[in-house]
């Protein structure tokens, strides 16, 4: 259970140093991505001008305010509240994100499934769990919205955030085939019969 301070980007070899139960605090650049963004990139043949290689993506669609473009707000968007959505809807996009864009870290809540775990193992990647529903806190870790692409999908645009002290995040899925979610799910299902028996129900 080690803690890592990581500044993006990170290489495929370095990411394999991370193991489940480690914690990570991120600095540098973070890309916001979610349902419609993935569908555009992988189902509809669109592409992005952003270099995602070695980078981190977070499953999000932020609350933003339209402001005059300035050095602080180059896109004309100021962050209002930025949080994290349930990752599982994005399950089938993890492998292409790693394979085509060399993304190394996926940040989300609720976890990803077996296909994503296999992709992390095959291609070198991790899933970092953030505490869902804590967007007010998360917003304080975001310094600026640096850029935005595919903005016709707003709020599900591809967002580029500058982050500082983003975390701690929990390594919940690693590149060695370990998933905290799978572990917890399996243990919980083992307790099903006893939970039902306590209510007088035969499973």
């Amino acid at each position: 259970m080690a803690h890592y301070d990581i500044t993006t980007p990170i290489g495929a070899t370095d990411i394999r140093a991370l193991h489940v139960d480690d914690t990570v605090t991120l600095n540098g650049t973070l890309f916001g991505i979610r349902d419609a963004t993935h569908i555009a990139l992988f189902d509809r043949g669109r592409s992005t001008r952003f270099a995602l290689a070695g980078g981190a993506v977070i499953h999000t669609a932020p609350n933003v305010a339209k402001v005059a473009a300035s050095a602080q707000h180059p896109t004309g968007y100021a962050p209002v509240c930025i949080g994290t959505t349930t990752s599982m809807r994005m399950e089938r996009f993890t492998r292409p994100l790693l394979a085509q864009y060399d993304v190394r870290m996926v940040i989300g809540k609720g976890g990803l499934g077996a296909d994503s775990l296999a992709a992390f193992t095959d291609l070198g990647g991790v899933y970092l769990a953030i505490v869902g529903g804590t967007a007010a806190l998360e917003t304080t870790w975001i310094e600026a919205i640096e850029d935005v692409d595919l903005d016709d999908l707003n709020p599900e645009s591809l967002w580029q955030f500058r982050i500082r002290g983003f975390g701690p995040l929990l390594v919940a899925m690693d590149s060695h085939g370990q998933s905290l979610y799978a572990r917890v799910d399996s243990a919980a299902r083992d307790k099903r019969a006893a939970a039902l028996a306590a209510m007088g129900v035969i499973s």
Binding site: I82, L137, A188
Partner: protein, 293 residues
């Protein structure tokens, strides 16, 4: 004297309620966090709960939204006694207030057309905001409750048309299996709302009422109240824990709402509310507007 409800006031209240609900967590939920934290034995879970509690304080200190998910807006209107309301104007005013909150704060509009996926950036669309109107003789004036229902929990909703031969056991099995299947996707600790009886649509609606009921308010039906006590204890033995990362605190509570059903039917529905169990309410009386939860 009969109180006449001004649609312009309702519009302002609808705007204010949406923003308040997104920023200030009700006191019963805060107490729920204190109870779960005191009982939690898992270190990771204690840390996760601590972050959630910290977020509530940060949201209040920075006057920011608790969660980025502005949800599907729901307005539950209860019309009390001695009041005159133009119903169509009231519904239109709620819709305008919802759209104004979205544009003026500004908030992320999380509402799209279900087929084109087009976002009008107003938090409004066909049939949204969801508006329910009911009546009460227990108070004078009008009560408006606003619930921004987050999608992480809403995406984990289920209906089972069980049959009478399966009995109450089917209901218990179903609830436990829903909690297992939801895992961390619903942002636990949750309020697990269970609808029992009614028609299919009423059963699902009961589950939503149960999921959004204040903590500490037992089901009005004694059989339903006994069932929710059993289920609350049972789901918290599973070890799903906060965010599905393991621990004792899987649910604040299981809430049950019941309605009579058909002799051939035994329906059960589950709808969950995430830990950011947001709601706000306002009472309009001749003395003015009182905001609460």
């Amino acid at each position: 004297m009969t109180l006449r409800i001004d649609p312009a006031v309702v519009e302002d209240v609808a705007r204010e309620l949406y923003i308040r609900a997104l920023k200030i967590l009700p006191p019963d939920i805060k107490k729920g966090f204190a109870r779960l934290t005191a009982n939690e034995r898992d270190m990771t879970a204690r840390s996760v709960l601590g972050t959630m509690v910290q977020n509530i304080a940060v949201a209040e200190a920075t006057q920011n939204l608790l969660c980025q998910d502005t949800g599907i807006p729901i307005y539950n209107v209860t019309i009390g006694s001695n009041v005159a309301v133009e119903g169509v104007a009231l519904k239109a005013a709620l819709r305008r207030g919802c759209a104004r909150a979205t544009r003026e704060h500004p908030l992320r509009s999380s509402v799209v057309h279900p087929l084109t996926r087009k976002n009008e950036h107003s938090s409004c669309g066909i049939g949204v905001p969801v508006i329910h109107v009911d009546f009460s003789d227990e108070f004078e004036g009008v009560n408006i409750e606003m619930i921004p229902k987050g999608s992480g929990s809403e995406n984990n909703s289920w209906l089972k048309m069980a049959i009478p031969a399966e009995g109450v056991d089917a209901i218990k099995r179903f609830v436990v299996d829903c909690v297992l299947d939801a895992g961390g996707k619903t942002c636990p600790p949750t309020i697990v709302g269970v609808g029992v009886g009614g028609t299919a649509d009423l059963c699902v609606h009961l589950a939503k009422i149960a999921a959004t009921r204040p903590l500490g308010s037992p089901c009005a039906d004694p059989e339903g109240a006994a069932l929710e006590e059993q289920l609350s204890a049972a789901v918290n033995t599973l070890g799903v824990g906060p965010q599905g990362l393991g621990g004792d605190a899987t649910a604040f509570a299981v809430h049950v709402e019941v309605a009579a059903t058909h002799i051939t039917m035994n329906p059960v529905a589950v709808n969950m509310q995430c830990h950011s169990a947001r709601r706000a309410s306002a009472r309009l009386t001749e003395r003015g507007i009182t905001y609460g939860f």
